[in-house]
């Protein structure tokens, strides 16, 4: 198992090198010279060239890539072209906000989706199933942006229970987490339902019932555990997505997370910030994927057996 984890961590190196190269390549192709974002309109060609050298934008893409990798290996992700602030420091300032939002969002998604999915599967084709699936469909169909504004109007403007945005205590995370979490819950509800439906028809559950095991035990102890693999997969993917930043929710709720940081940096052609933030996010997502794989092993003995070979 440990060897597997170490192998996965080693695999992270080519992934990061690839991500940095792709970011460099895309930013190079994107219209809008970063030098013009930094220099004034009256800058002369000589001054522009001087600035280009100062910002490390001289040379071809491979030279710049090599230079960046060399600095990255020393833990230096550079300085923002626009704010002149350290990229790593800026990212780490935003990361707790994103981790916070992602964690609470996933809690909301799990608390809503697992019970709803189980109810829908256990009571297949009943009114409960129909209602659950309609709710899931609504959750998938309603745009985050619109749902966020509706929640603000209801809970902030009308009821005055919750703040409309910003980070100001525990209350301020409820609306953004609900906005993102309900959308994710919809997808996870459908996955839970279909995964449970596959499992509840298995012979071993019929055997358990015939042996007199209570229905509650059959569902929660025997069925759910076996249905968890696809749910964990979706959980991992969605958690990684939220870690990358929920730009729309962050914008509506003025939530200073990494998603908005990256989007703002792209708009300003702030290459060090874009590259640095994506490198850090890639590392985070890779670690989350690794954790998900480890959880698989705990849930499924067959996978654990593979690792221990």
């Amino acid at each position: 198992m440990y060897r597997y984890i170490i192998n996965r961590l080693i695999m992270l190196i080519p992934v990061l090198l690839g991500v940095v190269f792709i970011v460099f390549f895309i930013m190079d192709l994107a219209p809008g010279d970063p030098v013009y974002q930094v220099a004034g309109e009256q800058a002369t060609p000589a001054e522009l060239q001087e600035l280009r050298v100062k910002l490390g934008l001289d040379g071809n893409i491979f030279t710049r890539y090599a230079r960046y990798i060399k600095n990255m290996l020393r833990g230096d992700l550079g300085v923002s072209y626009i704010s002149k602030r350290n990229v790593m420091k800026t990212y780490l300032e935003r990361l707790p906000n994103t981790l916070m939002l992602a964690s609470v969002t996933m809690v909301v998604a799990i608390l809503v989706s697992i019970p709803l999915g189980i109810i829908a599967a256990v009571h297949q084709n009943s009114i409960k199933d129909t209602v659950s699936m309609i709710l899931a469909l609504l959750g998938l169909s309603i745009p985050n942006f619109w749902l966020g504004l509706l929640l603000i109007i209801l809970f902030s403007l009308k009821l005055k229970w919750l703040p409309s945005g910003g980070i100001n205590g525990i209350k301020s995370i409820i609306l953004p987490a609900l906005t993102v979490g309900l959308g994710l819950a919809a997808l996870m509800t459908r996955t839970t339902r279909s995964s449970m439906l596959d499992v509840v028809r298995q012979d071993y559950l019929r055997t358990a019932r015939s042996k007199g095991v209570t229905e509650k035990k059959v569902i929660y102890r025997h069925a759910l555990k076996n249905a968890l693999i696809p749910i964990i997969t979706i959980f991992g993917i969605q958690f990684s997505n939220v870690l990358g930043g929920s730009v729309l929710a962050e914008t509506v709720f003025s939530w200073p997370g990494v998603g908005r940081l990256v989007v703002d940096a792209i708009n300003q052609r702030d290459i060090p910030m874009v590259t640095g933030a994506l490198v850090m996010t890639t590392m985070l997502v890779s670690i989350v994927n690794l954790l998900v794989d480890i959880i698989y092993a705990y849930v499924d003995p067959r996978i654990k057996a593979q690792y221990t070979k």
Partner: protein, 503 residues
């Protein structure tokens, strides 16, 4: 399963608790005697730098207005140059004397001297943002810690106006030499307390400010990019000022007795920049044809919900020498078609119009319809602001919807927009006669004659038709009704340094 559940549960709880632990309620500040201690301003635009000489965006200028001071200032009502940090004397047309008060100090407590002024301007001469305002400086002589004399290479009626620009705020030589990023230290009423880019910026009053501390102890600029959320935050009382609420939601503010809707005529000119250096816009008749096909009223309705003013001038409203009698080309599709035929385009032509932003997108769509009436097809090219700016600076555009935001010095405007080779000359017009007229107007000492020279310049530019001025819009700001002390500016660079809310 039990083991897994426990591990999962404990991990989940730890993650959530750990995350919550990094958050806390913002401590409520103690109340001062007469004024609300903290004012929160919701803004859609983030501050990008705390260096006055490294940018000229609105949000940055608003910050520098609070943290820094310039040697001289412009009276917001008359536009005339008045003393700022220093008293001034115009010794002759090329010599200016300044005297700093003895008790002027930076917000770190160190005295502000003439040497700091010299250091600031010499640093500004190296910045591509600020150097155009100081190109005329010949010599800066420090007479003593409080006095300095600046001589310029030729007479200029706008040299002092240039010095009033916020980008030329006085910096601390000692602080910057000790730490190159100490440019946020100025002599203003407020000092920078905290800046979290993408979230908020907090200023705290400088209690030893020479003219007495500001009434409000803390002012926070909170970045709120979503327009509707910003208005709701004002309605719920989470913020005290809402900059630039969307035009469709103004009624919520206007109809709420606890709130006030501030509307200021904008002096920012929206115009169509046609690239005069390449076909088909190198042909005067083509440019004029397009000018005859622009329905400015309709564009204001489309882009700004009818809230704007038709602009026929080539400098901004309120600027010295503006010819208020100058008329536009008017709408004449028949004449436009005739001009196109004379220019060799009887069947019209196709060109790309670049722009950014939602209001300009609506305006561009109407322009597309209008130009189609004279056989000209417009290919709409909506771009990100960075891409558009880069394209304009690289002079690769055919035509663009753009704006001119500076409203201080008329010479700075005409020199930037229409002088041969200027970096902000988006039409790329290069006319030696016009250049000469601009140079002559700058040195004319008699104000009446100088104003007449700018009238002639505007008429000449109208005939050349390098750009098509469209309109100016209305600046909207929502505030709590109790907010006082703000100087609302037509450039949107409002002065919040005296903002307060009485208890």
């Amino acid at each position: 399963m039990k083991r897994f559940s426990r591990i999962s549960l404990i991990t989940l709880c730890l993650v959530v608790l750990f995350s919550f632990a990094s958050y806390g309620q913002v401590a409520s500040a103690p109340n001062s005697a007469s004024y609300q201690e903290k004012i929160v301003i919701g803004t859609p635009l983030d501050v990008t730098t705390t260096d006055p000489q490294a940018s000229n965006t609105d949000s940055n200028m608003i910050l520098f207005c609070m943290t820094h001071e310039t040697l001289v200032e412009l009276d917001p009502k008359t536009g005339k140059v008045i003393p700022g940090l220093a008293e001034f004397e115009v010794a002759d047309s090329m010599t200016f004397k300044f005297k700093l008060p003895k008790n002027a100090t930076f917000t770190n407590g160190t005295p502000c001297t003439a040497s700091d002024v010299k250091f600031t301007y010499e640093r500004a001469q190296k910045s591509s943002f600020t150097k155009p305002k100081l190109t005329l400086i010949k010599n800066i002589k420090v007479e003593n810690p409080q006095e300095l004399t600046i001589t310029i290479t030729q007479p200029s009626q706008e040299f002092l106006t240039n010095l009033a620009h916020r980008s030329l705020s006085i910096l601390s030589e000692a602080a910057i030499k000790a730490n190159e990023k100490a440019y946020d230290i100025g002599t203003g009423k407020y000092c920078l307390k905290e800046w979290i880019p993408g979230d908020h910026l907090t200023l705290e009053y400088y209690k030893d400010y020479r003219l007495g501390p500001a009434k409000t102890k803390k002012v926070e600029f909170r970045l709120m990019k979503e327009d509707s959320a910003r208005v709701i935050a004002l309605q719920t009382g989470e913020i005290d000022v809402c900059i630039d609420p969307p035009s469709v939601e103004l009624s919520y503010i206007a109809n709420d007795k606890k709130l006030a809707l501030i509307q200021v005529p904008n002096v920012i000119m929206l115009y169509i920049a046609m690239n005069n250096a390449k076909p088909p816009f190198d042909n005067l008749k083509v440019r004029q044809a397009l000018a005859y096909a622009v329905d400015k009223e309709k564009l204001i309705q489309a882009g700004y919900n009818g809230q704007g003013t038709v602009h026929n001038n080539f400098i901004n409203r309120g600027q010295f020498g503006l010819d208020s009698k100058l008329t536009g080309y008017g709408i004449d599709y028949a004449k436009a078609k005739t001009l196109l035929a004379e220019a060799g385009y009887p069947k019209g032509f196709e060109f790309e119009l670049a722009y950014n932003g939602s209001a300009k997108a609506l305006i561009a769509a109407v322009l597309q319809e209008d130009f189609a009436k004279i056989g000209v097809k417009v290919k709409l090219a909506e771009m990100e602001s960075a891409a558009l700016k880069s394209m304009l600076n690289e002079k690769k555009h055919t035509a663009a919807l753009y704006q001119w935001t500076d409203a201080d010095g008329t010479d700075f405007t005409v020199r930037s927009m229409y002088y041969s080779g200027s970096g902000s000359n988006r039409s790329l017009i290069a006319d030696k006669k016009l250049d000469k007229m601009i140079d002559e107007a700058l040195v004319e000492p008699d104000n009446a004659k100088r104003a007449e020279k700018y009238h002639l310049i505007e008429k000449y530019i109208k005939d050349l038709c390098p750009i098509i001025p469209i309109c100016t819009s209305i600046i909207n700001v929502g505030t709590k009704a109790s907010v006082k002390g703000v100087v609302w500016m037509g450039t949107a660079k409002h002065d919040y340094s005296n903002i307060y809310i009485s208890k």
